[in-house]
């Protein structure tokens, strides 16, 4: 069966090359038959990668340890759920997943009725298929064959097993959603490059790729969110984000993708920022490849890294360089075409606030990028590997992202084209006043008298109020105009302007995440304490009692745990059970965080170590305020995105402003 999997990959590789050549020749010679054949090639690549992927899943599920990949990442007793996730646990499998998703996306674009008459389509399909040639090439020729057999041909009785840190539901959702997002951005990139190739740089490429962009962004958001959730409960970092190089690598395209998502609205409505949008989609695409490069090149240490050889790093570097050179060459060559369009009319306009938001997002992306690659730059220039740690990222990105959030609150209050100070004042007055009072109040009320925290909460309050005001005023206007009841007016208002109100819902989700970040970073209480049996740990309003360690078997694993009664303000709230898991198939024990969560705060407990046969143990106990709002906000963001892109009247063509 594995041979058929490998054959399918070779077939997909060969057909991809055929399709690229056939598309180019068909475009040059206007040969409809050849174009149809090239399109058939796209379907064949999709079929071949689907067969290869299905075979790999089959081999994983049946524990065929004669295949090196199956042996390396699974064992017989691994639950089915994790056997499936082993598909992308290693380098070869994750490349196959990438190639498979790309082949499916390419087929969807190529056979979409919407693009049937679009002259860009052959170019788009060519570019996407060309990308897939690269991924297939790695699998077929560069030591990343997921169907490679164990040397010697002897099938081991048991597999090496999946790294216990990867045995978390996050492993199923986090990589897949990230890949769906990463690969999704290849589609608007391919349309943008086709527009440049054909010298047709109007907003048509933006319109046809809007849904692709938003959905890719949504998956990238979900991917980051699942990653944060996973890190929070599994890795024992004590938090959801550690500015790990590979976390950064998925955050950078999220930032540039967010900027792109907003700035294309300006081109769509005002025929402006064409160069900017092209640049943004190029950067976003390149940074998605950069993330993959980081994971596979071995240049940086990270929990996410795959064990690969240097050839992989070189291959990704070459691919990235070619993509960058070709993209920027086309951009510069067509720059005069892109310069045509409208100009800003007023500094006080929605479009100028969008531009500020873009610059801030790009600033954060650059700071994150620089912090991530600085150790490499330093090593290359001075021979010393400097570590850029969490404080750098927090200090630089904190203010930039807070400013971005503030602009996010201002933006909905301003009209397109032009606004006046008087209008701004009318719209600003209440949100700004209440937010200021909130900030001042929280400064005195919350512990630590943190000015930064108070300002941040004030900004978050301001944004929430502006969003609520938008919903309220829109509903009120509709109610006045139609006589509908307020709830009906609100519902119909949202449905009629799905893009706008879906966007506001996404903003609301973001503010909730921001509130969680401020709370958990700025007001976290952290205690690491060694305690003997019968002793207490006091953290904030909580008291935890250590009654000794216990041990229990779980399958082939052994779990050491502490069952600790917890009181809050003197009242019992149950027990909390942090664990260390000793795996039969893995040397390193795993840490299972115990969390007692509520809407106001999480009690977060880690069993760090123990001595004297468990009579003395060290615990790390955190009280993380407002953490639940991060996950609630994340899902509100996703719901808002789905609402905004849901097909129907309200999601159609937007207004277009001219000079």
């Amino acid at each position: 069966m594995a041979d058929i999997g490998y054959l399918s990959l070779i077939l997909a590789f060969a057909i991809s090359i055929y399709s690229v050549v056939a598309f180019i020749v068909a475009a040059k010679t206007d040969n409809e038959r050849l174009k149809a054949s090239a399109k058939g090639g796209v379907a064949a690549v999709c079929l071949a990668t689907t067969v290869a992927s299905s075979i790999l899943i089959y081999l994983l599920m049946t524990s065929d340890f004669s295949i090196e990949y199956v042996y390396s990442y699974t064992s017989k007793n691994l639950p089915v759920f994790y056997k499936l996730s082993a598909f992308w646990a290693g380098n070869a499998g994750s490349l196959l997943l990438w190639s498979w998703v790309l082949a499916i996306y390419t087929a969807i674009v190529t056979f979409s009725k919407k693009h049937e008459h679009d002259e860009k389509l052959p170019y788009v399909s060519t570019i996407l298929t060309f990308m897939n040639i690269f991924f297939l090439l790695l699998m077929v020729f560069l030591d990343a064959n997921p169907f490679e057999k164990i040397p010697g041909g002897v099938m081991p009785a048991e597999g090496a097993g999946l790294n216990p840190m990867l045995q978390n539901p996050g492993m199923v959702f986090h990589p897949v959603t990230l890949y769906l997002g990463y690969v999704g951005f290849a589609v608007p990139y391919a349309f943008a490059m086709s527009a440049l190739l054909l010298k047709k740089v109007d907003d048509s490429w933006i319109k046809v790729t809007r849904r692709w962009t938003v959905v890719a962004w949504m998956f990238l958001t979900l991917g980051n969110l699942y990653g944060a959730q996973w890190a929070y409960v599994e890795l024992g970092w004590g938090g959801f984000w550690a500015w790990d190089p590979v976390e950064n690598a998925s955050f950078i395209p999220w930032l540039t993708g967010t900027a792109f998502l907003h700035s294309v609205m300006i081109q769509e409505r005002k025929d402006m920022l064409k160069i900017w949008n092209m640049t943004l989609i190029i950067i976003t695409f390149l940074t998605t490849i950069f993330g993959t490069f980081l994971v596979r090149s071995g240049v940086l240490q990270s929990v996410h890294s795959f064990a690969t050889n240097q050839a992989f790093g070189a291959a990704f570097l070459i691919f990235m360089s070619i993509a960058a050179l070709v993209s920027f060459y086309l951009l510069i060559d067509r720059i005069n075409l892109l310069k045509q369009g409208n100009q800003f009319e007023s500094y006080l306009s929605k479009e100028s606030s969008f531009l500020i938001n873009n610059l801030l997002l790009l600033g954060a992306a650059f700071a994150t990028f620089w912090g991530t690659i600085f150790p490499l730059v330093s090593e290359a220039i001075r021979g010393v590997k400097v570590t850029v740690s969490v404080p750098f990222f927090n200090q630089v990105n904190g203010p930039i992202l807070l400013a971005t959030i503030f602009v996010m609150g201002v933006c909905p209050l301003i009209a397109w084209q032009r606004s006046t100070l008087k209008n701004l004042r009318n719209n600003f007055l209440w949100p700004f006043s209440i937010a200021t009072v909130t900030g001042i109040g929280l400064y005195f009320y919350l512990p630590g008298k943190s000015l930064y925290g108070a300002v941040a909460f004030g900004v978050a309050a301001f944004v929430i109020l502006t969003i609520l005001q938008e919903f309220y005023r829109g509903t009120a206007v509709r109610h006045r105009m139609t006589g509908e009841g307020y709830i009906t007016a609100l519902g119909k208002l949202m449905i009629r302007s799905r893009r706008r109100y879906g966007g506001y819902t996404v903003h609301l989700g973001i503010v909730l995440i921001v509130i969680a970040v401020i709370g958990s970073y700025g007001y976290k209480t952290e205690v690491t304490k060694q305690v003997g049996v019968g002793e207490n740990i006091n953290v904030g309003n909580y008291t935890l009692t250590f009654n000794g360690l216990q041990e229990k078997p779980e399958g082939e694993n052994t779990i050491v745990f502490a069952e600790m009664p917890v009181t809050k303000n003197g009242k019992s709230i149950g027990t909390i059970i942090p664990e260390k898991v000793f795996y039969a198939t893995w040397e390193q024990p795993g840490t299972e965080v115990a969390i007692k969560g509520s809407l106001t705060e999480d009690l977060y407990v880690l069993l760090a170590s123990w001595e004297q046969n468990g009579k003395v143990a060290t615990f790390k106990v955190n009280v993380n305020p407002l953490m639940s709002w991060m996950w609630i906000g994340g899902y509100i963001m996703v719901l808002g995105t789905i609402f905004a892109v849901w097909p129907g009247k309200g999601s159609q063509l937007g207004p277009k402003y001219t000079q």
Partner: protein, 129 residues
């Protein structure tokens, strides 16, 4: 089983690539037709776009985001654009040959006012449904 699957992938791939090369000529939609369709579509899009813009300006004004002066200026500007689009639409329908241009402009002005009112009142109608 493996051999059958292998054969299926190869045969299906060859079919997908090869069949379009040898199949009988189909009624290929002519480029001209698709261009006509695009032009028509573009005019319809322009019309929809300009009236949606007018609707948004109206809504922003009522939400107090636009000053009286800016509202008047923007509305006048997009009304002019609406006239151009509607004129183009009339020309496509070949109804302008015998018409008096000034009369047509007056009619279009009226039509635009009605369209704006319709855009604003559309919600009212929906509300009463």
């Amino acid at each position: 089983m493996a051999i059958v699957l292998g054969l299926f992938v190869v045969v299906a791939s060859v079919f997908l690539i090869g069949y379009p090369l040898i199949k009988k000529e189909e009624d290929v939609k002519s480029l001209d037709r698709s261009l006509d369709f695009d032009a028509e579509d573009s005019l319809e899009r322009q019309k929809e776009s300009v009236f949606t813009t007018l609707g948004e300006i109206e809504f922003d004004y009522r939400m107090k985001k636009l000053s009286e002066a800016d509202y008047g200026r923007l509305k006048a500007n997009y009304k002019k654009q609406a006239i151009i689009v509607l004129k183009a639409e009339e020309e496509e329908l070949n109804t302008t040959n015998d018409s008096d241009l000034a009369q047509l402009e007056r009619e279009l002005e009226l039509e635009i006012e009605q369209e704006i009112e319709k855009e604003v009142q559309k919600m009212a109608k929906e509300g009463n449904e």
